[in-house]
Symmetry: C2
Subunit: 436 residues, 2 copies
């Protein structure tokens, strides 16, 4: 271990003094509202008072000894962060069908970097030349229209920060008989959040002239699966976007380059990627992608269909499996919450398996159908504990327990699972998925 500050012997201890003045274990804003030192002295290494400033700076690390690399055209991340990756899985026997999941436990804030946005492809990523791509609006319209990318770029755009979640997200975290021992990203990483910029679909539909008999649209992708979904006209006219930019730059190929439909709050696959056409229809088209998949099979053999909005949900990203606690002391509990029904109004956190709950702090901005970051201070006493979070949105919807979901819907359905996630922390500080 190289010392950056010559002559100083650093404490290697990661222990934090327990000096919280509050009574409880959970503190919503303890760090910001209580006066004076929270963590106390000796946090990392407290320097003796005889240590002079000059002494502190005698030793300089290797990277200060010579000039570093110059500027570049398109930056890359540090090699020390290469382990932060999406967890990829493909369907057996296929090359392009599969999903990759955002490593939620390694991220902070609400924006997901484009390189780590989750993926779900039904037949791989088509490599589309934007100069040759065309987008068709047809069906029950007065004037069928074809657009190219140059033409689309002249239409008025809007920008919105929204999450998108695959409706199959979190199934493995709750709908298996025994808790699956995986990390937060594998269990819940089919959700990501970006700033999306594009053209309101309503403007283009108005341009084409929608027939009064039209109640639905069909959206079809330009992948080799021609993945297609039916969407109610009300949604298409309300807040649907033809997205062209994601987090400032053009969409990535794995998110629909050069254009995708984006339906705020709806299950992810309805935001059809590589969008090539929208057909205006009277009834839903009943495509393979909404009959063989994306319906929720109930215990009585019937299925829920067209269950578009993603329900209110949250998960603690830290601590979580793989991010072990290092001895008793104070930690920040950090997590994300979201709802397809609106914005998050409250997140509650429990550190005793749900017996008592405290209200977490929400990081601004708290936006409509966006990830919202919540945080709470926790003084861990070193004993086994179960931590969990529960989100509530502005419609009053409350994230349910696993038990209540199974009582209502059984365990045969594969989509729209939004149960409370519990992490069991053992005496060594290791976190694992648990059913409570």
């Amino acid at each position: 271990m190289e010392s950056n500050f010559g002559g100083i012997v650093e404490s290697k201890s990661k222990r934090i003094e327990e000096s919280v003045a509050g009574n409880g274990l959970l503190h919503r804003r303890v760090f910001l509202t209580q006066a004076g030192s929270i963590f106390g002295v000796g946090t990392m290494g407290m320097l003796g008072s005889e240590t002079t400033n000059a002494q502190n700076m005698q030793g300089r690390p290797a990277w200060m000894q010579s000039p570093g690399k110059g500027v570049g055209a398109y930056g890359t991340r540090a090699r020390f962060e290469d382990h932060v990756q999406r967890t990829a899985g493909s369907a057996p026997g296929t090359t392009g069908a599969g999903a990759s999941r955002t490593p939620l436990q390694h991220l902070e804030g609400i924006i997901t970097p484009n390189s780590l946005h989750f993926e779900r492809h039904h037949s791989g990523i088509p490599e589309i030349d934007p100069n040759e791509h065309r987008f068709l609006i047809h069906g029950l319209v007065d004037r069928p229209l074809i657009f190219d990318m140059d033409m689309l770029s002249r239409y008025p755009m809007i920008s919105k920060i929204h999450f998108i979640e695959c409706s199959g997200n979190s199934r493995v975290s709750g709908l298996i008989d025994e808790p699956v021992d995986q990390d937060c990203g594998v269990l819940h990483g089919l959700v990501s959040c970006s700033e999306w910029t594009g053209i309101p679909l309503s403007i283009l539909l108005d341009e084409a002239g929608v027939d009064p008999s039209a109640r639905w649209i069909l959206a079809e992708g330009s992948d080799s699966a021609a993945m297609s979904r039916s969407v109610p006209m009300a949604k298409a006219m309300d807040d649907a976007i033809i997205a062209i930019y994601q987090n400032g730059e053009r969409l990535r190929p794995d998110n629909g380059y050069p254009m995708r439909l984006f339906l705020p709050g709806f299950e992810g696959n309805t935001s059809v990627k590589w969008l090539r056409r929208i057909k205006v229809t009277a009834e839903p088209t009943m495509t393979k992608d909404e009959t063989s998949k994306y319906t929720d099979l109930l215990d009585d053999g019937t299925s829920l269909m067209f269950t578009y909005p993603m329900a209110v949900k949250s998960v603690i990203t830290s601590p979580s499996p793989g991010l072990d606690l290092n001895g008793a002391g104070i930690y920040e509990i950090s997590g994300i919450a979201w709802s397809g029904g609106g914005h998050i109004s409250k997140v509650e956190v429990s550190a005793d398996g749900g017996l008592t709950w405290g209200e977490a702090a929400l990081s601004e901005p708290v936006l409509d159908r966006s990830l919202t970051r919540f945080r709470m201070a926790w003084r861990w006493n070193g004993a086994p504990a179960v931590i969990m979070s529960r989100a509530i949105d502005n419609t009053g919807a409350i994230q349910p327990t696993r038990d209540s979901i199974i009582a209502e819907k059984g365990m045969k359905f594969a989509y729209h699972y939004n149960g409370i996630q519990s992490w069991a922390i053992d005496a060594e500080g290791r976190a694992v998925n648990t059913y409570v």
Copy 2:
């Protein structure tokens, strides 16, 4: 040219019908408030009514003929977007001193992707091993403290979307005798915007115990230039952040990996990258970086010093040099506005060189010391025109004209230029930097 929709002959015309019902040339929300078709029929290619849906889909592009590429661990952008790059420039005779500028004209929304965030290095990018990096707080404190990255990660964090702007930004757009013929990114691309996550500096300073005599801090980087700046204690205690994450992932090396100071609204170089120490002091340290640079030389030979906040500013990113208009018709004017003094309250746009102004629409969210996207519809009649934008923030500060800045400060200063940017559009639709 391959046709995606078999049997349909596409119009190659980029012309948009001029069918706006309004009286003026500029329309703040024309597309959203006026009923009926805006652009009119025949936009790209209007399909004949005899064209059946089946016919439309007979031809399928090459990329639909076989499965595409599978999922990946860390995504990349489309090869068709490789031309979107930072414009790099290094100081003569150096390897690592220089800057690269964000290609603002190719981006949309407010978030800058990390790979395209502007850079400014005084001696290159150090390659810092986060496991060996240490951060020291010393000087006029009760308890000098050293932190490593693991320890810092246990402190409470906050996330904020903020712009950062080099104080030398835009100098070449207004403080040269003749207008420089460059694109928007080269002229104004030393500004970017991200979600920053980190620890409030006030918490760490409280931990160390600040002496009542302390009025300033010195922040020093771990680059080989040991770039260092003095910052008033009031700012350090107000909203300074020790940033660790940028747009969800860890900071990039070119933005201070593994940690930087972040001072919302202050000139960029004070947000010291690769932060290795903060020394608490009674007076400013008068480092080389704030005496030889980052002071504003006036005509009378005196200099303005410690001029931290970046002033209210805006620029139209589209149309702009390189993004040529293609014939008379309707276009969306899109741009960014920001202020180190607060949030943007209004952006006005002129298409007649400043004779008349209209109010642009601001895209939500409009955040404190963040980029704000503004948009306005413009019907170009094909004659030469001068377009410009003027931002106003919530303190009432108004972006000034070039003339008024030069009358007040002369032309010797190199920092904090925030004059109105005018783009002259010629009859061929080409946009160039102009002084009006």
